[in-house]
């Protein structure tokens, strides 16, 4: 009934290529955006910020990143946790003032002499963006093997990235500014006079900060995958030899997918560390579990779908919190029982969704939409 296209005639290419061709969807989208930007900030508190919204935004950004690589370009990656760590540590180094050592040769005593450049601490926006850029470079490096190896073998290669990067950040004191415990702690940074990181950041400030990042970059991603670059990714995904024959350069395509994907994941890592947690240690925060979590998100949400990334992130982040609140908060059950039940329920739901719709919740949603268009008179 709502999804009737009848009467919505397109008379221009612009209208035909709109992201939301159906008027109803267009209005729902903008209603959600207005609600998120203009209404939620008035009601948000610490709990909603730290346990619900920020985790969702961070993982949504990460899931979009991985979806670009895995869902759109068909390159399986298990290195998400490691790339998030790159974003987080880059952000940390930039927000505390990056120190660069340039070797200047050996002095008389045979020790290496360095020329040291100390950058001033950067604004948090630049920290997050540059964290993404640095991760993009690292991602491209680890993406190089994708030109020769495919499928499971590539997954193993990216797994190496995961373990290598976490090991690196644990091993080399330069990355954690020589702190005694190897922890990195976000310093207080401000934007327009409002604290964004550190203990004094107001929930509304961090909420709007992360939401803006997600909104802007989800927008860019959506338009990227509809254009030439996105189509070349999909061509490579669907059949790389055919794509090469019609003139898609596999080197540029695969590397650009790794770069863009890592850029998003790096930003997610930077926000994860700086805004959400405020401190991190690599072995726990950026372990292989993060890689799996984000991979599950895009599989459940829908491979090759931006809205699927958002749905998947919401599913994996919000469901455990929801179950916990119901079991412990409302029913008063023991915490360990609730934890086990929650694991089982989330696991069962994943299986149910994958059986009901192997292409993810986004595909389920698409089918529903198709049916709604016909309703009440299907063929």
């Amino acid at each position: 009934m709502f999804y009737r296209e009848t009467g919505e005639f397109k008379t221009s290419y612009k209208a035909d290529q709109a992201t939301f061709p159906i008027r109803f969807e267009f209005f729902v989208f903008w209603t959600v955006v207005v609600l998120a930007f203009a209404v939620v900030p008035f009601f948000i508190n610490d709990y909603w910020e730290k346990a619900v919204f920020i985790p969702f935004f961070v993982y949504a950004l990460g899931a979009i990143g991985l979806n670009i690589l895995t869902g759109y370009c068909g390159q399986v990656s298990l290195g998400t946790g490691g790339f998030m760590a790159v974003g987080a540590y880059a952000c940390y180094k930039l927000m505390t003032g990056l120190d660069i050592y340039i070797p200047m040769g050996f002095d008389d005593t045979g020790t290496m002499a360095y020329h040291t450049i100390l950058l001033p601490p950067l604004n948090i926006v630049w920290c997050v963006l540059l964290g993404g850029v640095i991760t993009a470079i690292v991602g491209m490096l680890f993406g190089l093997p994708s030109l020769r190896i495919k499928g499971f073998y590539l997954a193993v290669a990216t797994l190496a990235a995961q373990f290598f990067l976490v090991w690196l950040f644990n091993k080399v004191p330069y990355f954690y500014n020589y702190s005694a415990t190897g922890q990195i702690t976000a310093t207080e940074t401000t934007l327009f006079g409002f604290a964004i990181t550190g203990p004094n950041a107001a929930p509304v400030a961090t909420y709007l900060f992360c939401l803006s990042f997600l909104f802007l970059f989800a927008w860019i991603a959506r338009n990227l995958v509809r254009g030439r670059i996105g189509r070349s990714w999909m061509a490579i995904r669907d059949m790389d030899i055919a794509a090469e024959i019609i003139g898609v350069n596999p080197l540029m395509t695969k590397l650009s997918a790794f770069a863009v994907s890592s850029f998003y994941i790096g930003m997610a890592g930077a926000l994860f560390f700086a805004v959400w947690h405020g401190a991190a240690e690599p072995t726990e925060a950026f372990s292989i579990n993060q890689s799996f979590l984000v991979l599950f998100m895009i599989i459940i949400g829908g491979l090759g779908s931006i809205v699927g990334s958002l749905i998947g992130a919401a599913f994996m982040v919000l469901l455990p919190v929801l179950f916990k609140n119901i079991f412990v908060g409302a029913f008063g059950w023991p915490t360990d029982l609730s934890e086990y039940l929650q694991l089982m329920l989330v696991g069962a739901l994943i299986i149910v969704f994958l059986i009901a719709e192997p292409h993810g919740i986004a595909a389920l949603w698409r089918t529903t939409k198709e049916k709604l268009r016909m309703w009440p008179f299907p063929h």
């Binding site: 610490d46 415990t181 609140n325 915490t335 934890e339």
Partner: protein, 429 residues
């Protein structure tokens, strides 16, 4: 679109889940699941049972009922922070996260929210400097105290000279395990021993390589900063390479029955440092039996009474209750706020006489906290495991830490923290 529906469901669920306010709210960030559960469960049970005893026997603390809010963290930092955010609005008086990782996250947050944190013998060691860390307490001792006490003990074993000896540290590769390294390095400079660092990654089930290295380099002593399943694996591996167990010394978190029993007879002679008594041979256990166990109110499955970590949970609860009592005396009210609780913790004084009154004579070291010293006395004793009798026994008196080294390190590290975070150390008189 679907998203908004899920979020809506979330809003409804969280709306339902708001319990009523109680008089004294003590959150318990416990972990009864995951690879650290064998250690998390007895601690959480001990913590809960002591408060249940106070409620049942005395009607709470000075007439104010205690409400325990348990929240499962799984020793996971993100979940721990979620627990903190979800319970802090209910008047939580003091947080005891039982995780160094979570403590690090809570130090700035809790300070900004004016809620005290008691990281009892864990967390950030330099929080012992109350001038910088106004809301963080880590009495009765710190990792650096523990490290220096263990080295002191080794010195006494070796007749005062350990020059050229090799000492290995097997540690959990996290903020927790890395804590003692700096102290051990300083002490190595002072005493001239050689330090070997052997990290073990979370969760620590795989340590073959680590112990091969121990067998190859054959250090004179092995120290361990482990937690969870890592402890029992390390002890089993040490036994399997026939490392002399009496030269293997753990920190107080690597010293419970769950760590030594799985290794069977091989664990015999394993040593560890502790700051409280062992076993259930204390008068308080009669009251616990009468008011808690026999009344069917024991936390968990009730099988952990008398275990090392159960006792440790109890001692944590005891200090929290005593701090609440002190806060009530200072502020003349039984309706405490977290800020008042902080004052109570800073004025806490539990001496031997008070311990005896509480039914815990000689159970732990006397603790006196002050504005400048949040780290307590920094005393520790060495205990040894008897695999046949399955008991721990103290083999030394309480030893004091090398204050010269430890205090200098605390001053350095807290000054660095103050500088990073623009904190002006407060005045203490």
């Amino acid at each position: 679109m679907k998203l908004s529906r899920i979020a809506l469901a979330g809003i409804i669920a969280a709306g339902v889940a708001t319990p009523a306010m109680a008089d004294l709210v003590f959150p318990s960030l416990s972990y009864r699941t995951g690879p650290y559960a064998p250690n998390g469960i007895p601690f959480a049970d001990g913590y809960a049972d002591y408060f249940t005893l106070l409620n049942e026997r005395d009607g709470g603390v000075e007439g104010a009922e205690i409400k325990l809010l348990e929240c499962e963290t799984g020793y996971n930092t993100a979940k721990g922070v979620e627990c903190y955010e979800s319970t802090k609005g209910e008047g939580s008086l003091v947080y005891q996260p039982l995780s160094t990782g979570i403590t690090y996250q809570l130090i700035p947050k809790a300070t900004a929210d004016d809620i005290p944190v008691h990281s009892m013998g864990y967390g950030r060691t330099s929080a012992a400097n109350g001038k910088v860390f106004s809301h963080i307490f880590n009495y009765p001792g710190t990792y650096w105290d523990a490290a220096s006490i263990i080295i002191k003990y080794i010195l006494s074993e070796e007749g005062g000279d350990i020059k050229g000896k090799k000492i290995a540290l097997v540690y959990h590769n996290s903020a927790y395990g890395k804590e003692p390294i700096r102290t051990l390095e300083k002490l190595a400079e002072k005493h001239g021993y050689e330090l070997m660092l052997l990290p073990v990654d979370h969760p620590g089930q795989e340590q073959k390589a680590t112990w091969l290295q121990v067998r190859r380099d054959n250090p004179d002593y092995v120290l361990m900063w482990g937690w969870g399943v890592m402890n029992q694996v390390a002890i089993k591996e040490a036994a399997s390479i026939r490392y002399p167990m009496d030269h293997f010394i753990g920190v107080w978190w690597s010293a419970s029955e769950n760590d030594t029993i799985p290794a069977g007879a091989g664990a015999d002679g394993y040593k560890a440092i502790t700051f409280h008594g062992v076993g259930s041979d204390f008068p308080i256990y009669e009251d616990l039996k009468k008011h808690v166990y026999d009344a069917g109110k024991a936390a968990g499955d009730g099988s952990n009474a008398g275990f090392v970590l159960y006792n440790r949970g109890m001692v944590a609860a005891m200090w929290a209750a005593e701090a609440a009592r002190t806060a009530m005396k200072i502020h003349g009210t039984t309706d405490l706020t977290p800020a008042m609780m902080r004052d109570g913790m800073e004025a806490l004084n539990v001496d031997d006489a008070r311990l005896a009154e509480l039914g815990l004579p000689g159970f732990t070291v006397p603790v006196k906290v002050s504005c400048a010293n949040h780290g307590g006395p920094g005393l520790g004793a060495i205990q040894q495991w008897d695999a046949k009798a399955k008991t721990w026994s103290l083999i030394t008196d309480f030893i004091s830490a090398d204050r010269e080294i430890v205090d200098a390190l605390i001053a350095d590290d807290s000054a660095a923290y103050a500088k990073e975070n623009n904190i002006t150390p407060r005045e203490c008189n």
